[in-house]
């Protein structure tokens, strides 16, 4: 019950932050990667933690690791966005197979997906460029 309350609060806080951010992002200049990472972390704990684990290490043979993954850190951001939107099944990544099914997360907003991906690309030992709302929007439009 407590967790649900926390979840509600988190979502409420997220909406607040998100609204502020939307206003801020209209202004010229680079999108604030730090704020995106912070929002992405909150979302990661709610949406991704169970399978990908707190350390991004995944679960051997079941759930793919995100930390240190060449794909996660790579240039093909569209592929990452597509995985979040469509889910993934029967994946073989870097010679290892992962048998759990990843559900589609198309119910998340473009902003939420951008934040989550920006977070996982910059969490743990990862360091990579930001994923923007525009990039998510573009991939989502193509999938429709």
């Amino acid at each position: 019950m407590k967790a649900i309350k926390i979840g509600v609060l988190t979502i409420a806080a997220f909406i607040l932050i998100n609204n502020q951010y939307s206003v801020a992002s209209v202004q010229p200049g680079v999108p604030n990667i730090k704020a995106s990472i912070a929002r992405g972390k909150e979302l990661y704990l709610l949406q991704c933690l169970a399978c990908h684990q707190i350390d991004g290490g995944g679960v051997p043979h079941l759930n793919a690791p995100l930390d240190g993954s060449a794909n996660v850190k790579g240039k093909d951001k569209a592929m990452l966005i597509k995985i979040v939107l469509n889910g993934l099944k029967g994946a073989e990544i870097e010679g290892e197979s992962y048998s759990n099914v990843m559900a589609s997360h198309k119910d998340l907003t473009d902003q939420q997906i951008a934040d989550i991906l920006t977070y996982v690309r910059n969490a743990w030992s990862n360091k990579a460029s930001q994923v923007t709302v525009a990039e998510v929007k573009a991939v989502r439009a193509k999938l429709k």
Partner: protein, 437 residues
């Protein structure tokens, strides 16, 4: 010089002892002493007083189930993609120190199941079961030409491994895991309801019985011996009770999928991991129900109209023989019939818990071997952690943090207990060092 001579005499004596033990290698051996020495650090394991452990071998790959032949040689099955002739590893201790000096391999398929029965070594891939004829020393005669006894088993994207056990009447039992978490219309998707009836159960989500000696059997020749079992990795035939026992992996993600009904804590602690005493026709109830370890009740699954509390009254579904904390992933089950360990262990069950991942954000659990005493053919319920320390850390937060994950269990001819680790490929041997009487 004198010292050398006496040393070599001792060595000869030890060798002779070992030779004798090889000749007399069977479970009826009366001596409770073993000549093998544990590692100084007991291979990193925490064990009850009087027990010790050694690493027989290390870095073997994804060593899943294992079996020990009458000579004390170990056969262990490797999971996943395997190289040419790398599917089964054989470990041979040349000098009797308990360590495997001679490591050979054969078989071109990955898999989990392996067993020895009536002069054959049985091993499974994720779709087939093979057997290899053994000679009088229980060595494989022809590793290149196994007989294929079962083929065409269902294999999905999850729970694909096929564990095996054999009875004393010429039958083999194969787990065919459900290729789903909870038979949702959209697997592992928030709020998705369950398919009714669950179509997976026709060819998976249960234990199938086949003949141990018939070639190329598939579903038409098999019998669905037990159903409603989401996934079983650890199973064993209890020869004393003449009955199959299985360990079910309970469903995952109650909170992720039904956040309004289950919070993080409830999701981490439900459902129980369960042991079933199987009779022909047993239905454990997956995906319609799960077993709640705190309420000790069968609860209707949220995919099938449950609210987290609603008890199932369906008489078709069996109660478990014993329930364990959630998500610990029981991968090995062994009824101990040896004479080396103290009497309390005889005919009780050892269970290797691979260790959880589905308890986050709470700390993970498992990563140990437990012992369940049996009295009058039933578990007493008072299970205890027998071997711990595989993970190498006090608290496992992410699965990756565990150094070793116990998976398979086997009993040696001298009554030693062997444990495989499928993370680093370590084979442990646990021995009892004191005379009990």
């Amino acid at each position: 010089m004198k010292k050398l001579v006496s040393l070599s005499l001792i060595a000869i004596a030890i060798l002779a002892m070992n030779f004798t033990s090889l000749l007399a290698a069977d479970s009826t051996r009366t001596s409770k002493l073993t000549i093998v020495k544990p590692d100084a650090d007991n291979a990193g394991l925490k064990l009850p007083v009087g027990f010790g452990a050694l690493k027989v071998a290390d870095n073997l790959g994804k060593t899943r189930h294992l079996v020990v032949n009458a000579q004390g040689d170990i056969y262990t099955k490797i999971m996943g993609k395997v190289g040419s002739e790398k599917g089964i590893i054989k470990l041979h201790d040349v000098n009797g120190d308990g360590k495997a000096e001679e490591i050979t391999s054969f078989g071109n398929y990955g898999g989990t199941g392996i067993a020895i029965k009536n002069g054959y070594l049985y091993a499974s891939s994720d779709v087939e079961v093979f057997r290899y004829k053994l000679n009088e020393k229980e060595d494989v005669i022809d590793s290149k030409q196994p007989e294929r006894i079962i083929t065409g088993l269902k294999k999905g994207n999850q729970h694909e491994t096929k564990s095996i056990a054999l009875d004393n009447d010429g039958n083999i039992y194969v787990n065919i895991g459900a290729y789903s978490n909870s038979c949702q219309i959209e697997d592992r998707t928030k709020g998705s309801l369950g398919k009714m009836p669950c179509p997976i159960l026709d060819s998976a989500g249960g234990i199938w019985q086949f003949k141990a000696n018939m070639l190329n059997q598939s579903y038409p020749q098999g019998i669905r011996y037990a159903t409603g079992l989401r996934n079983v990795v650890g199973l064993d035939w209890n020869s004393q009770l003449n009955q199959l026992f299985v360990m079910q992996h309970g469903r995952d993600q109650l909170h992720d999928l039904f956040p309004d009904l289950y919070d993080d804590k409830a999701s981490a602690e439900k459902p129980a991991e369960t042991m079933y005493a199987i009779k022909k026709g047993t239905n454990a109830g997956w995906p319609y129900i799960y077993y709640d370890p705190s309420m000790n009740k069968k609860i209707v699954a949220p995919e099938y109209g449950g609210d987290g509390k609603k008890e199932s009254t369906d008489p078709a579904f069996s109660d478990p023989a014993i329930a364990f904390p959630a998500h610990m992933a029981p991968n090995g089950l062994l009824f101990y019939t040896g004479n080396q360990f103290p009497d309390k262990y005889k005919n009780g069950a050892f269970i290797a818990f691979h260790g959880s991942w589905n308890r986050a954000p709470l700390p993970q659990e498992g990563y140990f071997v437990v012992f369940v005493p049996f009295e009058n053919g039933k578990p007493t319920g008072k299970w205890e952690v027998f071997a711990n320390g595989f993970s190498g850390v006090e608290v496992v937060t992410g699965t990756r943090g565990a150094a070793h994950r116990p998976c398979g269990l086997a009993q040696g001819p001298d009554g030693s207990l062997y444990v495989s680790d499928d993370s680093k490929g370590t084979i442990y041997r646990i021995i009892y060092q004191k005379e009990t009487k």
